[in-house]
Amino acid sequence: MNQLPGLLDTEAIRKDFPILDRTVHDGQKVVYLDNAATSQKPRQVLDALNAYYERHNANVHRGVHVLAEEATALYEGARDKVAAFVNAPSRDEVVFTKNASESLNLVANMLGFADEPYRVDRDTEIVITEMEHHSNIVPWQLLAQRTGAKLKWFGLTDDGRLDLSDLDEVITEKTKVVSFVLVSNILGTHNPVEAIVRRAQEVGALVVVDASQAAPHMPLDVQALQADFVAFTGHKMAGPTGIGVLWGRKGLLDDLPPFLGGGEMIETVSMHSSTYAPAPHKFEAGTPPIAQAVGLGAAVDYLAGIGMAQIEAHEHAITGYALGRLQEVPDLKIIGPTTAEERGAAISFTLGDIHPHDVGQVLDEQGIAVRVGHHCARPVCLRYGIPATTRASFYLYSTPGEVDALVDGLEYVRNFFG
């Protein structure tokens, strides 16, 4: 079982994550399988945060003292690191936000306030999918309400994939923007980017990719994606909370209007009018999440040090193993693709009639942390006619032994409520 091909040396890796030694409920070591909600943080990231606060903390930009210069160099250095991590053509294309949700709202708001040819208004359409996270649904619903634009979406197939059979009817000449998730946080589905991008480009629509569940788990190359905007979030990729990223094409970031106004994002201000700094600063109003950017920089260093292809292979192996073992559990039904192909490491399932809340709670009593509910993707639950799912999700430190613990735990749950 430890013979799965592609596994990382998790024994070494786990030593980097202090929380994995945590015990719960009278001495049981925590089995953390809630990585799609948030990942744990390695010592290296905590060290970077502490070093920042203990030695270099100052407000960034425009300072002429040593601390301000150091803090600025660290903050902007983190931008370089993130740019390299996603293969951005330019560091100026990396905007720091507070989370992926802000990144997505930023795009939606820019497009609502933009001039032609970007402007979303009552004569235009917005396209999303039925498997989006609420953070990639609600901003577009709000934009549609505020502008009168029409919101359309791709449905799902019974086996948890995007139904693109009506691609040409959903994305039309009226479509201004298509926003979709690269890897679903509830179904695990890895979506076919190319087909959607090709059609969007045909009609001249902008493409936004929600890579929140991709950036932590696989090599992400914004140029290869051919999207216009890519959003992701630090806390799911070994980084701190409070930091997100919006990558956007330089030309677009230059053309589009600002979203939040304030310090840092201006060029010059008078009471009568203001001009704005060039991107990325135009989109970073106020004191940015400085320490958090530095922490995210340390996180991408850490991940890149292990290798994103290696992490992907590890999770692929664990996911395949978990899908197999879970399907041995009687009454367990996987919601989403049942094999590891074109799939990420989040696995949702139902267990007979036992409500996910009960599944999660009884697993927790055994030290196993999973998430239950609609996972901020309620339309998926509606689509499959279920109130909620239990979701186990893996990361670079997850082991086959933890999969076994989960399966044993589920057996116990069945007996408990049987």
Binding site: I354, H355, P356, H357, D358, Q361, V362, V372, G373, H374, C381, P387, A388, F416, F417
Partner: protein
């Protein structure tokens, strides 16, 4: 938190199913999808029946069953007192722990004291309260209609 009493009620619910009533309500817990449809039948000041259908976790199901067992047949003021006491227990965040306090509560709440442990889990308190809030709501409606 899964006291035997709770599991018992979950596996063998009391009074489940919809029967005739004076008022019906439908309550949902949006964060977890728990749902209940509940009807109250009053006979003057007496709770003649509480019938319900729903889906949800063991806590919400068992709680509806306990409610049925506890409230059916009670006079309204007494039933309301029980409801309030149950609410208080659930909002206690596990702070009602001493045996004598629980024993005192048990006189009013009977089986429902088994939910004391649930109060420690903020995410589950709403599950336990779902049917009780529905009952309160339905009863208010029934009374309003009776008065009209």
């Amino acid at each position: 938190m899964y006291q035997d009493v709770i599991l018992d009620h979950y596996k063998h619910p009391h009074g489940r199913g919809l029967r005739a009533g004076d008022a019906e309500v439908h309550h949902v817990n949006p964060t977890c999808g728990d749902e209940i449809t509940l009807r109250v039948k009053l006979a003057g000041q007496t709770v003649e029946d509480v019938s319900y259908e729903g889906q949800g976790c063991s806590i919400s199901q068992a709680s509806a069953s306990v409610l049925n067992e506890l409230l059916v047949g009670k006079e309204l003021p007494e039933a309301q007192r029980i409801q309030e006491q149950f609410l208080e227990l659930m909002q206690s965040r596990g702070r009602i722990e001493r045996d004598e306090d629980l024993a005192a509560m048990e006189e009013v709440l009977e089986d429902a004291v088994a939910f004391a442990g649930v109060s420690k889990y903020p995410a589950r308190v709403k599950c336990a309260l779902l049917s009780w809030m529905a009952w309160k709501d339905a009863t208010a409606q029934a009374l309003k209609e009776a008065a009209a």
